[in-house]
């Protein structure tokens, strides 16, 4: 389904709101993985507000599409999306990280409505996504599974075990995104543990790889539509080149904002930057 200018405008507005909510949640939480939350906002926004079939009033709807955010530390970038989608009131985000809150920094599928899989420990999302997708196929269901990986987490060998399985079992009802923001806790991915030639690795593991700008709705739309129309027996991976901290000028592409705290003054600066993004 090609995207219209009006849709892009609407998605941008939604993404701006989500970014503002991520900032507010980070302030309330006392600290969060804000950099990697910001880099995947467009991916999350287009999935939840253009593509996936879910019903916030019935979070366990049997034939809903499943979304697995494997980079579970970016929970602060997931919960505001779910709140904006209507799973729970936005005010609840203010309890993030607090004593006995349903919202820990790594979201718990048993406590947070709309979360299909608990993630946090890296390298767990893709294997479970392959299982979900195979589960749908085994039961003759049409719903799809969308998995969002971080690039740094692709150091974990379990991803490549799952990649082999996705290819071997021809799991084409799974669409995998990699949020390629080039940064991990200890520095640039290529300095800590190089991933390149990253696209070639996925291709070698049997995926069709579409490499795009992960902040561009037209490119995201084309890639997702391509994956939906895929009639080959190979799964599709969308390698999204992104900027960590996207939208907040003093955070962008700066490793120190993998995890950080912002006070209310800094939040004002952050929001001003987000607003300028348009």
């Amino acid at each position: 389904m090609p995207i219209t200018d009006q849709e892009i405008k609407d998605l941008k507005e939604k993404a701006m709101q989500i970014r503002m909510d991520i900032v507010d949640t980070t302030v309330a939480a006392g600290g969060a993985h804000i950099g990697g939350a910001m880099s995947m906002v467009e991916i999350m926004t287009i999935l939840y507000f253009k593509y996936i079939n879910v019903d916030p009033s019935n979070p366990q709807m049997e034939d809903r599409d499943r979304v697995v955010v494997s980079k579970g530390h970016a929970g602060v970038g997931v919960a505001p999306v779910l709140a904006n989608k209507g799973y729970f009131p936005k005010e609840e985000l203010m309890s993030f990280n607090q004593f006995n809150s349903p919202f820990g920094m790594h979201l718990d599928s048993m406590k947070v409505k709309g979360v299909d899989i608990s993630t946090g420990s890296l390298g767990h999302g893709l294997p479970q996504s392959v299982g979900l997708a195979l589960g749908a196929r085994t039961q003759g269901k049409d719903w799809k599974t969308y998995c969002i990986l971080g690039d740094g987490e692709c150091n974990e060998g379990s991803n490549w075990e799952a990649a082999m399985a996705a290819s071997h079992f021809k799991v084409t009802n799974l669409i995998t995104f990699v949020d390629r923001n080039n940064l991990m806790i200890d520095g640039r991915t290529e300095d800590v543990m190089s991933l390149e030639p990253f696209a070639d690795k996925w291709t070698a593991f049997g995926f069709i790889v579409k490499e795009i700008n992960g902040h561009d709705y037209k490119e995201l739309t084309e890639a997702i539509d391509f994956a939906h129309a895929n009639t080959t027996d190979k799964p599709v991976l969308i390698l999204c080149n992104t900027i960590k901290g996207k939208g907040i000028d003093f955070m962008e592409d700066d490793v120190k904002w993998h995890y950080g705290s912002i006070d209310s003054d800094l939040a004002v600066q952050a929001k001003a930057s987000i607003e300028k993004m348009g």
């Binding site: 049997e62 499943r66 718990d108 599928s109 048993m110 299909d116 899989i117 608990s118 946090g120 420990s121 390298g123 767990h124 893709l126 294997p127 479970q128 996504s129 392959v130 299982g131 979900l132 997708a133 195979l134 589960g135 749908a136 085994t138 039961q139 269901k141 599974t145 060998g157 379990s158 075990e161 799952a162 082999m164 399985a165 071997h168 079992f169």
Partner: protein, 338 residues
């Protein structure tokens, strides 16, 4: 191989089929009745016998290759999709290679994944410590939501596999390599998850055992009765978690001496689970636990290893005599205690 397709097992079947073949066949039978059951393994479909399910239901069986992390991750995803996965590989790879997937993907999300862990304890004796697994009960006991079963033989394995299907949440079923002799004659003895089975009544001392030690304990109790006139209670504690507190406390009260035998490190397994209950009761009780003495085991045939580590009937007889010889004030009055 037997042509058996029924769902009830007898000593005849158990003697002609291995423990693992029995669960493979049980799973095939359950698979007929329950279309949501799927099977998974990691290049051990043949060794673990879950391949029998795969042969019968090729569209519901997934061999992921030698990749145990993905094995349990995929099982979790499948459970989340509404299926009931039975996963089988060697105990060492379930509980150590893929421990985090079992804990975080399956137990944390309280998913209906049933794990049949083969080659538990030292049952793969000659393979050495890379393939022994004398830590699994300790590891799985510490995972919230996990139920931990150690069937005594092939017949009890059949019961455990069937019971696990209706038991909510993840279940870990630890079996041996599959060639162990059987204790039970048939399935009709009242197997229930969480309830110990008293296989021999007794008032002088209680042996608490699980897995391969059950048959040995039954033999030891018989000889001790005949030669020493000792009345030895034997509890088959097939469920390590949730442990049957009531049966243990009853044994404390009524026999005042307890000894546990297990093919597992003495730390963290059956003996430790029993010790927790006794210690919390505040009741004095002569207590010993026998198992693998916190070491990496020597290699050898399993029967020789059981003998070496004090887990066969002869060693049990010696241990019971030793405990009975200890000075122990068994007539102490507990009425005024906390």
């Amino acid at each position: 191989m037997s042509e058996k397709t029924g769902t009830t097992w007898t000593v005849y079947d158990a003697n002609t089929l291995s423990q693992a073949e029995i669960y493979g066949q049980v799973l095939c039978d359950l698979g007929e009745q329950h279309p949501k059951i799927v099977g998974l393994s990691a290049d051990l479909a043949k060794s673990t016998k879950i391949g029998m399910f795969g042969d019968k239901f090729p569209d519901r069986f997934f061999n992921v290759g030698i990749a145990e992390q993905n094995l349990f991750g995929m099982a979790a995803g499948m459970a989340r999709s509404g299926l009931t996965p039975f996963v089988s590989t060697m105990a060492a790879f379930v509980t150590m290679r893929a421990a985090e997937q079992v804990r975080t993907d399956i137990c944390y999300q309280n998913l209906d994944v049933k794990i049949i862990a083969t080659h538990g304890g030292t049952s793969f004796g000659a393979a050495g410590s890379t393939h022994h697994c004398t830590e699994d009960l300790s590891i799985t006991r510490a995972f919230p939501n996990m139920t931990v079963l150690v069937p005594a033989d092939g017949i009890e394995t059949a019961n455990a596999v069937k019971a696990s299907l209706d038991y909510p949440g993840p279940v870990y079923i630890r079996i041996g390599r599959g060639f162990e002799p059987t204790y039970y004659k048939d399935e009709e003895y009242g197997f229930e998850i969480g309830k110990a089975v008293e296989i021999n009544p007794g008032t002088d001392i209680t042996i608490i055992c699980c897995g391969v030690t059950v048959l040995q304990a039954a033999g030891a109790a018989k000889i001790l009765q005949e030669t020493d006139g000792l009345s030895v209670r034997v509890l088959n504690m097939h469920t390590i978690k949730p442990i049957d507190r009531e049966a243990i406390l009853k044994a404390v009260e009524e026999t005042r001496r307890i000894v546990t035998f297990e093919d597992h490190n003495i730390h963290g397994g059956l003996g430790s689970a029993v010790a927790d209950v006794i210690a919390e009761s505040g009741k004095g009780c002569a207590f010993e636990k026998v198992g693998i003495p916190d070491c990496f085991c020597i290699v050898g045939y399993p029967e020789d290893l059981y003998s070496h580590y004090g887990l066969d009937s002869n060693a049990m007889i010696d241990k019971v005599r030793e405990i009975m010889g200890k000075d122990f004030e068994e007539d102490e009055n507990w009425d005024d205690e906390v």
